[in-house]
């Protein structure tokens, strides 16, 4: 029997081909996922507002994303007068490519990461920081007042929420002692009380840490109630105002890819990644069935979080901008500092 799926692949193909296979897989997954998350979003929004949502194209509107994609791709790419043409065209790509890079280090199952990097966590945050640059360049190069206001908002929002996010991540690095995402998941093996979110004996504030992480993730991906960058009731479409056709489509896809990445990271860091919540039922988690079972649990957890993101968007109204900044600087940063100090003290005193 083959030891794992990864081994199976590497027995047939050498490393570069395996990598290409994984990356092509990730790219097609991101595209498909973005298309169908739009469907989930529309259907979810409709259900939360007690209406049916898309029903006409395909069963329950399931072919709607394909129709949408065809429409977007056939639209003209308008280049407004006076824009900085190069930057205007580059900005959507700059938003999309870092996410694809970051998804390469996410372990989807045991030994199922395109690149099992030792500094995987750092890599996600390094490439995640390019996002701000992309929205900002898109907004600036549009030569549109709303877009520039949106760009200014994006920077202050992202700078404000990067700090508690990184503090939480530092706490997690101290608790796990590694930045390798696969190892972080392996440390959480066993039933659900071994997951980092429930490890209250290391840090009694662990669930709070998860909440801070999730809130910051919402803010960093510009999702409601923190979608100050798009804010369609005040800023038309913010930084994306001047984009048409696939230029807008790529921004949209990148937004959903970012949500996916954030939820995948939350799953890995806090919810035990591919570990099943009831322990290893199938015994041997190295076999192909065990690995696929792990992938199943990973997707269940990740899509539960994605659903929560949609749920939050259609439940809470958009915050005001100063409230958004106050939430970060006056509430999230102090609490995350407290969790950082508390868990370092707990680790030093009890777990050395």
């Amino acid at each position: 029997m083959f030891q794992s799926l990864n081994h199976l692949i590497s027995a047939w193909w050498p490393e570069p081909l395996r990598l290409i296979l994984f990356l092509v897989g990730i790219m097609s997954f991101v595209g498909l996922n973005a298309a169908y998350l739009v469907w989930v979003e529309r259907k979810g929004a409709a259900r939360f507002q007690r209406r049916p949502g898309p029903t006409e194209v395909g069963w329950a509107g399931l072919l709607q994303p394909i129709a949408d994609a065809a429409k977007l791709m056939s639209k003209q790419l308008i280049l407004p007068a006076g824009v900085d043409a190069t930057l205007f065209r580059v900005a959507p790509l700059l938003m999309m490519s870092p996410v694809l890079m970051s998804l390469a280090v996410i372990p989807w199952g045991r030994n199922l990461a395109a690149c099992n990097l030792n500094v995987g966590l750092l890599m996600i945050f390094a490439f995640g920081s390019i996002n701000v640059m992309a929205i900002m360049l898109g907004g600036w190069s549009s030569r549109n007042k709303y877009a520039i206001i949106s760009a200014a908002r994006v920077v202050s929002q992202n700078v404000a929420y990067e700090i508690p996010m990184l503090l939480v991540v530092i706490t997690m690095i101290m608790v796990t002692g590694t930045m390798n995402l696969s190892e972080i998941v392996i440390q959480q093996s066993g039933a659900f009380w071994h997951w980092n979110i429930f490890r209250v004996w290391i840090n009694p504030l662990m669930p709070v840490t998860f909440l801070i992480f999730f809130t910051c993730m919402l803010a960093e991906t510009n999702r409601a109630p923190f979608d100050m960058a798009e804010a369609e009731s005040e800023l038309v479409a913010g930084a994306y105002t001047e984009y048409s056709g696939m230029g807008f489509g790529v921004f949209f896809m990148a937004e959903y890819a970012n949500i996916l990445l954030g939820c995948a990271l939350a799953t890995v860091l806090f919810l035990g990644g591919w570990q099943s919540p009831i322990g290893n039922l199938l015994g041997d988690s190295q076999s192909i069935v065990g690995v696929l079972f792990g992938v199943f649990w990973f997707f269940v957890k990740m899509y539960f979080l994605v659903f929560s993101v949609v749920w939050i968007r259609w439940t809470f109204p958009r915050t005001q901008f100063y409230r958004l900044l106050n939430l970060s600087w006056k509430i999230l940063i102090p609490i995350s500092l407290v969790t950082l100090i508390l868990s370092s003290a707990m680790i030093k005193l009890f777990h050395q």
């Binding site: 490393e15 930057l87 500094v119 750092l122 390094a126 920081s129 360049l137 600036w140």
Partner: protein, 176 residues
């Protein structure tokens, strides 16, 4: 497992791509007239540098280069430019002073280049027999708090002074 066919050439190509990206970014940063494009050139240059660090087996340093120089420095510069100067900058019509300053800049960069080239060509570079650290978080933490603790503290002090200075300036600006 036998080595992948032409792996040496692939490695060489990756090295050339990294060097090319760094040089291209630097050229964009130096040659373009719009300041936002220069910042983008700087970002591209930093990506090339990060690639070189990764090539030299230091992934931590490579990612830190991206996180700090693109995610923090470039974003801050773009933000400052965007707030201060939303419109096209007025072109400097004074050709004489441009010539003087440009010539001076060429001289200084030629001198720096010559010095670096001499250092690179005539220094006896010996590779350490073993890697100094394994590059893990633990090793970096130990060296930051033991060997390099002085530099670490000095840098944090400099940042603290910068923050206090920014606060002081912002205070007086607000009361005006």
């Amino acid at each position: 497992m036998e080595p992948f066919p032409a792996s040496q050439m692939i490695v060489g190509a990756i090295f050339l791509i990294c060097v090319g990206t760094a040089v291209l970014g630097a050229l964009i940063a130096a040659l373009t007239a719009r300041i936002i494009r220069s910042v983008c050139g700087l970002a591209i240059c930093c990506i090339g540098l990060a690639g070189l660090y990764y090539f030299l087996n230091s992934p931590f340093l490579a990612l830190m280069e991206i996180l700090i120089y693109i995610g923090a420095v470039c974003v801050t510069i773009v933000f400052a430019v965007m707030l201060a100067e939303p419109d096209e900058p007025v072109r400097d019509e004074n050709f004489g002073s441009t010539l003087v300053w440009g010539g001076l800049a060429v001289l200084v960069s030629a001198a720096i280049f010559w010095g670096l080239w001499r250092l690179g060509a005539h220094q006896d570079w010996t590779a350490p027999a073993t890697r100094v650290t394994d590059g893990s978080v633990k090793a970096i933490g130990y060296s930051l708090l033991t060997t390099y603790s002085m530099a670490f503290e000095l840098i944090s002090l400099a940042l603290l002074v910068a923050i206090v200075g920014a606060l002081a300036i912002a205070r007086t600006g607000r009361t005006k």
